[in-house]
């Protein structure tokens, strides 16, 4: 914290920026064989976010730094990255919440093919997402002029998993997903959960059958990395456990 000079009658104490070191894992597929670390010193305020630091580097120091971001406010889910060894959204990680006496390590999320710097190929991730049929499949159309109705209690059952923004922070924090890219991953299961437990939906059994697979929910080893990584605070491991229980209860009934 800077100490303001004692005599500053009118003006408030000036808020001074401080120098923060970022160490970013860079990879240019046209030049590099292996990713490598590169240091950047940036002047930042404690109200800045890691995304602001990346912007500063890209706009003022090195325009070749490549990363995804879109809304920059934690909704679009583009800027998930591994910050100081944890998967976080760059736009939701404040500099003041990090230990700036040490450098901040920023690297791409793991388990998905690295394309350039902090950008990974999200296609395998979205493929798993599509595979669980993440859309409403009702058996009957609602009466003309009305919609499918649902009570507050019925809605509350899956409220938590509606919050997903598909940033892949959970899936790429999962040690099972790192070693076994075939695993559906937490995000796909969260989005299956959102429809399995929706009272308006009638295809729960289809999704449970898809996830009752070698590479489905049974791959989950409850390390809780995903729950910790989720920028939306979804209790991911709990959602996966609920799907596991739904599969077991269903097969017991038959």
């Amino acid at each position: 914290m800077s100490i303001a000079p004692a005599a500053l009658p009118e003006a408030e104490a000036p808020i001074l920026p401080f120098t923060v070191t970022l160490i970013i894992r860079r990879f240019d597929p046209e030049v590099d064989e292996e990713p490598h670390w590169q240091d950047f010193d940036v002047e930042l305020y404690s109200t800045d976010r890691v995304l602001d630091a990346l912007h500063k580097i890209k706009w003022e120091v090195d325009g070749s730094l490549t990363f995804r971001r879109s809304c920059a406010h934690g909704i679009c889910g583009s800027d998930a990255m591994r910050i100081n060894g944890r998967n976080r959204l760059a736009c939701k990680t404040l500099i003041k919440d990090l230990d700036i006496s040490k450098p901040i390590y920023v690297e791409a999320i793991k388990g998905l093919p690295l394309e350039k710097d902090l950008v990974v190929d999200m296609e395998p991730f979205f493929e798993s997402f599509r595979a669980v049929q993440p859309f409403l499949i009702p058996k009957s159309a609602p009466t003309p002029g009305h919609e499918h109705t649902q009570s507050v209690a019925e809605r509350a059952v899956f409220d938590d998993t509606t919050k997903c923004i598909l940033c892949a922070a959970c899936t790429s924090s999962c040690p099972v997903f790192w070693t076994d890219g075939q695993y559906f991953g937490p995000a796909a299961i969260v989005n299956a959960h959102r429809f399995i437990f929706d009272s308006r939906d009638d295809a729960a059994q289809v999704r449970l059958d898809i996830l009752n697979d070698r590479e489905g929910v049974w791959r989950c080893r409850t390390t809780f990395n995903c729950t910790d990584a989720c920028p939306r605070g979804i209790k991911v491991t709990q959602a996966i456990a609920e799907v596991k229980q739904a599969i077991m209860n269903n097969s017991a009934k038959k």
Binding site: R26, W37, T222, T223
Partner: protein
């Protein structure tokens, strides 16, 4: 995990070569409890393998069995037994925690508490076992 040192250090910095990527900073009650569960599981498997083989010797020749079991009565094996009991106690308690997390709603929301209970139970078990065991290993009583 390959860790080739990279040449591309910024000119102003002088640091020791950095690892290929950062290690995921998981929680001891989550990621690392799982890693430890794996390590103790594999270790116990190899113990059981040896244990079944040496016990099977008694069918072949009781004298050979006695000779093999006799070589275990050294302080080093005594310390090894501490590690073995530690691994089994951890694997057992943590296995029960994993079952609770999978089958009990309350388990997924109170996972951190459950993990600390596992560690507490392990400490209590070891506190009861280790002093008694080491006394008998080193004094022969």
């Amino acid at each position: 995990m390959s860790s080739q040192p990279t040449e591309t250090q910024a000119p102003t910095r002088r640091r020791k070569p950095r690892p290929a990527g950062t290690l995921y900073r998981g929680d001891i009650t989550g990621l690392w409890s799982w890693v430890l569960h794996r390590i103790t599981g594999v270790a116990i498997f190899f113990f059981l393998l040896v244990h079944i083989l040496d016990t099977a010797l008694v069918r072949i020749s009781p004298a050979a069995y006695d000779a093999v079991i006799g070589t275990y009565k050294t302080p080093i094996m005594g310390l090894g037994e501490v590690a073995l009991v530690g691994a089994i106690a951890y694997h057992a308690f943590n296995g029960l925690r994993i079952i609770l997390v999978d089958f009990w709603q309350w388990g997924t929301t109170h996972q951190r508490l459950l993990s600390w209970i596992v560690i507490a139970l392990w400490v209590i078990t070891m506190a009861g076992f280790v002093p008694r065991h080491l006394i008998s290993v080193f004094t022969g009583q």
